[in-house]
């Protein structure tokens, strides 16, 4: 194996981790709320710009800006669910999809008006120098990103499966009426679930700011990829999303290395269709297949 190939693998895994975190949010929103969130990419971009703004205008280290980004995305997610999606709870599924699509247009173009379509990038002190291990070069920001992804995934897991609020979220996902009878404020819980989903994607976006230039429609690039990963991992399956994210990252970098970037895109979409058609519960089962 050439060192270049190993480098490709490492890059794929690193990027895949970030994809995974964004997709985790999408998967959570789908698993709990049964909502196909087309505003997910746009929410990711909001996360990016929030970090960018804070660190450019206030000179704060972008990683220290993360809490602000988290709070902001949580609020956006919570409010969107509570005051918009909740209103059409009983409407046909595709209406919710369209609602989130409309929101995506609004978010993206607000960013466009505020920040112009120009590319923005952030220089972070101490991050310029790539770390060399053997023949491999890895940007420190990517290592930090990967670490944060693992930590956040574990936190989300602990929240969902070990906390009492998480139990309520899962109960609400299983059965609305039953949860309501048990005294869970379902609307509140659903808002929180959406908020957490948005936070995941927001963090993923924030982590990318030090490694790539950002622009208002950047989220679109990630939108469909998140769907691919979430479906591959099984909608609602956290670890599935993590593993699938890394798989897709690897597929992308390896096929990009071997075939060229655009063909890797083609390959990913083809895999997506095959999974949707032949194994809609995802690679690891347990995924929710939305049946009406």
């Amino acid at each position: 194996m050439s060192i270049q190939f190993v480098q490709t693998l490492v890059d794929g895994i690193m990027m895949g981790g970030v994809y995974a975190l964004a997709a985790l949010g999408l998967s959570l929103i789908f698993g709990v709320l049964k909502i196909t969130n087309f505003a997910h990419g746009a929410m990711m971009t909001i996360g990016m710009y929030s970090v960018y703004v804070i660190s450019t205008y206030y000179g704060v280290n972008p990683y220290l800006a993360l809490p602000v980004s988290i709070l902001m995305l949580f609020l956006i997610g919570y409010l969107v669910q509570r005051f918009l999606i909740q209103r059409i709870e009983h409407a046909p599924a595709h209406n919710q999809l369209l609602l989130t699509l409309g929101l995506a247009y609004i978010f993206e173009n607000l960013l466009l008006i505020i920040f112009t379509p120009n590319y923005k990038s952030l220089q972070v002190e101490g991050m310029e120098k790539a770390i060399k291990i053997g023949g491999l070069t890895i940007a420190p920001a990517k290592i930090i990103a990967f670490g944060v992804v693992i930590v956040v995934t574990v936190l989300v897991y602990l929240f969902l499966y070990k906390s009492s609020l998480g139990l309520k979220v899962r109960a609400a996902a299983q059965n609305d009426d039953g949860a309501l009878l048990m005294g869970i404020r379902v609307k509140e819980i659903r808002g929180i679930a959406f908020g957490i989903g948005a936070v995941c994607t927001g963090i993923a976006g924030s982590l990318l700011v030090p490694v790539m230039s950002i622009y208002p429609t950047l989220g679109e690039v990630f939108q469909l990829k998140c769907f691919v990963i979430a479906v591959l991992g099984g909608m609602g399956n956290l670890w599935g999303a993590l593993i699938s994210g890394i798989i897709i990252g690897l597929v992308e970098s390896v096929s990009g290395y071997a075939l060229g970037g655009s063909w890797s895109e083609l390959l990913i979409y083809a895999v997506f269709i095959l999974i949707l058609v032949f194994k809609p519960t995802g690679l690891f089962g347990r995924g929710n297949r939305r049946d009406k």
């Binding site: 196909t36 918009l84 209103r87 059409i88 409407a91 599924a93 595709h94 209406n95 999809l97 369209l98 609602l99 699509l101 409309g102 929101l103 995506a104 247009y105 609004i106 993206e108 173009n109 607000l110 466009l112 008006i113 112009t116 379509p117 208002p216 469909l224 769907f227 479906v231 060229g260 655009s262 063909w263 895109e265 083609l266 979409y269 083809a270 997506f272 269709i273 949707l276 058609v277 032949f278 809609p280 297949r289 939305r290 049946d291 009406k292």
Partner: protein, 318 residues
């Protein structure tokens, strides 16, 4: 579900407006008219598959693009008149529709997953056309201008307008005929309850595929028109997700599953966008915010669309 009298008069009024419109129009207004009619045609196409048959497509760009590319490649490389190319393009689009439909319906993909499958197909075609030399790659196709009606080219844009109007009328007529016949009633039955329809002897798969084929062919027709009218196509334009959205939005605003809805939706949405464009010329993106707001507001407050709500009110169903 349709109040025939309201439907008839609404369509007649809209049609009369569309016929009179070019008489008083300058070239800018004609171009707006062409946009309205293009959206109306895409809307009717989506309406059949998703409004009537209930299969929510998020990838009508696939059919639009296939139509546009088929006629354009046949014209540029083989000298085949786009009129014939259009028919072949419609057939190709229908074939793509049937393939997507068969894969999805055979394996019981529905709801949002079906939407994602159609979206992924459109994306695949975009990447494929963008990267294949034989299909002209990212550079797209420039249609040589000849000003010859037999080549689907006209000096006067008003003729383009009239041709497109005829296409919209044809599409609406096809929908009207279908909705009165066995196919239409069975499609609505499938939308409402697939299992009940099946148990009543309705060949569900076959009918859904027919709906997809006709719908895709209509979108393919719109694609050829687009190529001939604008004279240039490339993959990022004709296979864009925005085309798929433009097929959906007029139905949401006007009312999906009604004959008149998409027409009304197109008449409302395009002028509104033009207006916001001219009012806020300097502010890039504001018109898209209005577009997004329109979707959100309609989905929340008027999910049956304007026409659908009027019909419901008149029939006292609220």
């Amino acid at each position: 579900m349709i109040n025939n009298k309201i439907e008839k008069y609404s369509i007649i009024v809209l049609l009369a407006m569309a016929v009179i419109y070019p008489v008083f129009s300058n070239s800018y207004m004609i171009s707006v008219g062409v946009s309205i009619l293009t959206i109306a045609l895409l809307g009717q196409s989506w309406n059949l598959m998703s409004g009537y048959a209930g299969q929510f497509s998020f990838g009508h760009a696939a059919f639009f693009g296939v139509g546009a590319y088929t006629s354009s490649i046949l014209y540029v490389d083989f000298g085949i008149s786009p009129w014939i190319g259009m028919l072949i393009g419609m057939a190709m689009a229908a074939a793509v529709g049937v393939v997507i439909g068969f894969l999805s319906f055979r394996y019981r993909i529905k709801g949002d997953f079906f939407a994602l499958v159609t979206l992924a197909f459109a994306e695949i075609l975009r990447v494929l056309f963008n990267n294949t030399k034989a299909l002209k790659g990212a550079g797209g196709i420039l249609i040589p201008y000849k000003n010859d009606w037999s080549e689907f080219q006209f000096e006067n844009d008003k003729i383009f307008y009239i041709i497109l109007l005829l296409m919209v009328i044809l599409a609406t007529f096809v929908l009207a005929v279908i909705s009165k016949r066995k196919l239409g009633i069975c499609l609505i039955a499938i939308k409402e309850s697939q299992s009940a329809a099946r148990s009543l002897g309705v060949p569900v798969l076959k009918y859904k595929l027919i709906a997809m084929a006709i719908s895709a062919a209509m979108a393919g027709m719109a694609g050829t028109f687009y190529a001939q009218y604008y004279g240039f196509i490339d993959p990022t334009v004709v296979f864009a997700a925005s085309i798929s959205v433009e097929a959906i939005v007029p139905c949401i605003i006007g009312g999906a599953g009604t004959l008149c809805g998409p027409l009304l939706g197109a008449v409302i949405i395009v002028p509104l966008q033009e207006l916001s464009n001219s009012l806020f010329d300097g502010i890039n993106g504001l018109n898209m915010i209005i577009y997004g707001l329109l979707i959100v507001v309609f989905i929340i407050f008027c999910p049956d669309g304007i026409y659908g709500t009027i019909v419901k009110r008149v029939k006292g169903e609220k």
